[in-house]
């Protein structure tokens, strides 16, 4: 899951070297925290949060595949 979010985030931003992703694994749920450069925040969130919503939808599909639950937190 971490690799998926990292790959997508790096492709969306201007500063891929500043993309940091950490994954906290719970029993059934994982929390994935995404940090990007301040000026790139808009790129991962998008207008009215549409980009963030799309990333969450993709993450949800990937989690379904392994029968788990994942939550994406974008750190501001």
């Amino acid at each position: 899951m971490k690799e998926l979010i990292e790959y997508i985030a790096k492709a969306l931003v201007d500063n891929p070297d500043q993309v940091k992703v950490s994954e906290i694994e719970g029993e059934r749920t994982s929390v994935i925290e995404l940090t990007v450069a301040k000026e790139d925040l808009g790129k991962v969130i998008g207008k009215q949060g549409r980009t963030a919503r799309a990333i969450r939808t993709i993450l949800s599909a990937a989690s379904t595949k392994i029968k788990r639950h994942s939550v994406l937190e974008i750190i501001e």
């Binding site: 790959y7 790096k10 939550v71």
Partner: protein
Amino acid sequence: MEWKDQDLEGEEGREDEVHREGEGEGSLNSPEKPFRFEEKGYWEKSIPGKEEDEREKRVTWLRTTLTEIIELIGINAHVEAQRREGKIFFEIKGDGGGLIIGKQGQTLDALQYILNKIAANRYRELKEKVILDTENYRGRRVEALKNMALRMGEKVKKLKKAVTIGPLNPQDRRIIHITLSGDENVRTESEGEGFYKKLVITPKSTGRKD
């Protein structure tokens, strides 16, 4: 038709301790990355020239990026590129079944949205839209919506009562509106706020039922 928000938002599963790990090694934005799949159809109408070379490079890079994302989701996929009416069209052939489509095409739409954002970020000059499809979902969806629109239109006329459908996304609503635009006896109207809206089909002769 019921549609439920599957977004995994909220504070559920939140833990207090935060472990930071991984520095994100490896560069993503490498156009030299080798690609694995044969391109089909895309080259047929190719015209030689610098512009065309640039276009080929963009399509190759985008296809590789899409393939990578799908494989990171956990699906083995093969992506074919095609040229269609000035659009970059990718057909995903994978073993994911319905997973890549999602409820009401949500996952496919999310992938398409993200890929367009990625394309715009890397190629600022890119004018073409990227379209994704798998298992002919787009075509099947249009047919299903047309049939539903016609069926609901008949129901409205027969019962002389308004019928509400949805919520549907803008593209899906558009198909309903267009399908019923030729019918003089019904009127269609979107209702509500946001991306997903309901759609009301009203009989024209008796006016809007409140």
